[in-house]
């Protein structure tokens, strides 16, 4: 026992030494990047996002990104990325967050795809007073339930996906009398379906719900659910599926003719649009959780980004890549805005102050940090329908909804906003 304790003391001392050693290095900007590197969310989200971060960090360090991002690294200091796997649950992530900040001495953390992690991490980020940018998670609860000083989210919440989806089908699907849904049995699936149906009630009265299915996440087999959707037909089948689940559902549904007379609406469809292009039925309504990928507005920045990404990874960037890239860009601009001189890394307080209510351009167009008292971004929302020309996927019937049309005003909870009939919404 004594030996074990003395051994532990030695480990503690070694770790403590490592900590003090890392805290002194200041000629580089250490950026903690947390995304799924293992598990079911790694393939569709985590690894593409990491690839996007790699690409952008390399380009920033080389100073080859178009203006206003043409300064080397972050404020002239080269970025040194530190990756952490997001797998392991919220307890593990809170623990790893501390390790990133204390042991690795990162200057900021960009990360988190899972909404559970996004709810758990801000508490410790505030405690450690470290600027933290949540890049991909969708739950609006993060800034609805608490106010944070050091935590930001540069992508819009999942609310606008489903408000936009409801607006789109009300506008574009003729003779809409009923909808059905198949969503994964976890928060994101439940929230997506709730936001969608409550929005639809406000926009178009009298639309029935034929059936709602909540299979287990990562189930992979949807025989029973497809049967239920087929015997209770609706004009539109709503689904927030992603990754392997979405692919399996598309394959199994297509084999049984589900999509022949029912339109499928995939709020996260774009994340697999290139990888599984053949599986998307003609006319499938697809969202990209914002103006990302095929829906990105034309700009010099986006052209550069798509070209570079395709050259390096052989595929077009999907929305998680856009989310990652805009998070790093926002952090870079806020840091440079807060810094007095080039080559200096400002304090976390200064960066957080500069980040609030920041507006900046990204490959996905304008990002405005207007919600959550300047900590939560709003973006426009876009939906379109898949059409294939010579084997290439193109989008037709694209409709763009202004940020104020699909996002609640600052300080209003998403659910209350939808229930109020979108009070204060300004649509183009």
């Amino acid at each position: 026992m004594l030996k074990t304790i003395s051994k532990m003391a030695v480990y503690g001392a070694v770790a403590f030494g490592a900590l003090t050693a890392t805290a002194q290095a200041a000629d580089e900007y250490k950026l903690g990047l947390v995304t799924f590197l293992s598990g079911g969310a790694a393939g569709p989200f985590g690894v593409p996002a990491k690839n996007g971060a790699d690409l952008l960090v390399d380009a920033l360090n080389a100073g080859t990104v178009p203006a206003p991002y043409n300064k080397v690294g972050i404020n002239g200091v080269k970025i040194n990325p530190v990756y952490v796997d997001e797998a392991g649950g919220a307890t593990k992530q809170v623990s790893e967050y501390r390790n990133l900040v204390e042991r690795q001495g990162v200057n900021a953390v960009v990360g988190y795809i899972s909404s559970g992690d996004c709810l758990a991490v801000p508490g410790v980020a505030e405690e450690m007073k470290k600027v933290t940018v949540l890049f991909d998670c969708g739950t609006p609860r993060v800034f609805e339930e608490a106010d944070y000083k050091f935590v930001f989210r540069t992508a819009a919440t999942a609310t606008m996906d489903n408000v936009g989806a409801a607006r789109y089908i009300a506008e574009k699907v003729g003779g809409l009398a009923s909808v059905s849904g198949i969503n994964q049995n976890y928060s994101f699936g439940h929230d997506s379906w709730n936001d969608f149906t409550t929005s639809l009630e406000q926009i178009k009265k009298g639309v029935d719900v034929s059936t709602k299915q909540f299979p287990k996440i990562y189930a992979g087999q949807y025989g029973a659910e497809v049967s239920a959707l087929m015997v209770n037909p609706a004009e539109v089948v709503h689904s927030s599926f992603w990754g392997g689940d979405m692919e399996a559902f598309l394959l199994q549904g297509a084999a049984r003719g589900l999509f022949e007379d029912q339109k499928v609406l995939l709020t996260c469809g774009e994340s697999a649009l290139y990888k599984f292009a053949d599986n998307f039925p003609e006319g499938a309504i697809v969202g990209a959780r914002g103006p990302n990928g095929v829906f990105a507005p034309k700009s010099e920045l986006n052209d550069w980004f798509v070209k570079e990404y395709e050259a390096r990874y052989g595929t077009k960037p999907t929305y998680p890549v856009y989310h990652m890239v805009q998070a790093i860009m926002g952090l870079k601009l806020a840091t440079e805005k807060a810094a007095a001189n080039a080559g200096e890394i400002p304090t976390d307080e200064a960066v957080a102050g500069a980040f609030e209510y920041l507006e900046f351009d990204s490959p996905a167009g304008k990002i405005a940090m207007t919600n959550g008292n300047g900590h939560q971004a709003v973006q426009e929302m876009v939906f379109g329908q898949v059409s294939k020309e010579n084997g290439e996927v193109v989008m037709k019937d694209v409709v763009r909804y202004a940020p104020s049309c699909v996002n609640p005003p600052n300080g209003v909870k998403a659910a209350d906003w939808i229930a109020s009939g979108f009070e204060g919404a300004v649509c183009n």
Binding site: R98, R103, G116, N185
Partner: protein, 312 residues
């Protein structure tokens, strides 16, 4: 009078409590979470010594955490003593009901049934939108009658509570293991029928062991909830319970200190595996467990016997 061992434990605890003031924050956090898990594993070890492997300790780990979360939110309290007490009562109530059924089963049936109950809790929580579904919800930081034990921006209260609870629980279980009732565990594992013929109710012994294990797990859950500040249904998922079994196998069942120290080593191993190889950390853990099973079939604690033998 305190015995030599008791003095040693009290001194070690006092040292750890003081060390909290100087050790880096990530380390005290890691130790807190590890001790919380170690308490769960301690309960598991009691069952394992009776030949029962529970793949469902996550049920009480999660129930304890949710009891703390719900109670502190509903009654607007952050008193650490009250919250731990609530978790104990919660674990006690659930296990005294579930235990009635489970204490009748052995081997794989016990393992599967215990897992089934924890998965029921998981399923119910995922469906409960009011409790945040799979995202869970945040829990307030604990205080001791308003005192948050803040030092240089570091909240040490849960760390201290974890150390004290681990020592107290360890001492009680150490006594229990040496009592006739505790010893009966091994007897049951070796030959249950003989124990019955000696006039002891095996079911009653196992029922009590099950309740003790459950209470320890819910205390562990309450510490985790207060330390991490966030709880989610993942705590009841079978992989969480599997992690407890992993730590128990790794640490060994030879001594009450084994699960507590084993949990700290496991967490240290995992966090450095995470840092050193973000892509293959699972492989490092897997190889570590495999080599422990192959070279130290009785767990890390069997190393202490080897040292003792070597010294003699």
């Amino acid at each position: 009078m305190l015995s030599k061992n008791q003095i040693f434990v009290v001194a070690a605890a006092a040292l750890m409590i003081l060390a909290g003031l100087v050790m880096p924050y990530w380390f005290s956090f890691l130790v807190t979470v590890a001790l919380a898990k170690g308490l769960v594993v301690l309960g598991l070890v009691i069952l394992m010594r009776a030949g029962l492997v529970s793949f469902g300790q996550g049920l009480y780990y999660c129930a304890g955490a949710y009891a703390v979360g719900a109670f502190s939110d509903y009654f607007q309290t952050d008193n650490v003593l009250l919250l731990v007490l609530v978790a104990i009562v919660c674990g006690l109530v659930i296990s005294s009901i579930v235990g009635l059924l489970l204490s009748r089963y052995r081997d794989i049936f016990f393992a599967m049934f215990s897992m089934a109950f924890s998965m029921i809790l998981y399923g119910v929580l995922v469906k409960s939108a009011a409790l945040g579904s799979s995202d869970g919800f945040n829990v307030t930081k604990p205080s001791l009658f308003g005192w948050a034990a803040e030092f240089n921006g570091t909240n040490l209260l849960s760390y201290w509570v974890a150390i004290i609870l681990a020592c107290v629980a360890g001492a009680i279980i150490w006594r229990y293991m040496r009592s006739p009732m505790g010893m009966t565990g091994e007897a049951i594992r070796e030959n249950e029928i003989r124990v019955e013929y000696l006039g002891v109710s095996v079911q009653k012994i196992i029922y009590i062991k099950y309740i003790i294990a459950a209470v320890l797990a819910s205390v562990g859950g309450s510490i985790t909830a207060m330390t991490v500040g966030h709880i989610d249904p993942e705590m009841a998922y079978w992989t969480t319970s599997g992690e407890f079994v992993f730590i128990a196998l790794m640490a060994g069942t030879g001594h009450v200190a084994a699960p507590l120290i084993g949990a700290v080593i496991f967490e240290l191993m995992r966090t450095f595996a995470f840092q050193l190889s973000p892509y293959t950390w699972q492989m490092i853990l897997g190889i570590a467990l495999l080599s422990i099973i192959i070279f130290l079939p009785n767990g890390l604690w069997s190393l202490t016997d080897k040292f003792k033998k070597g010294a003699n």
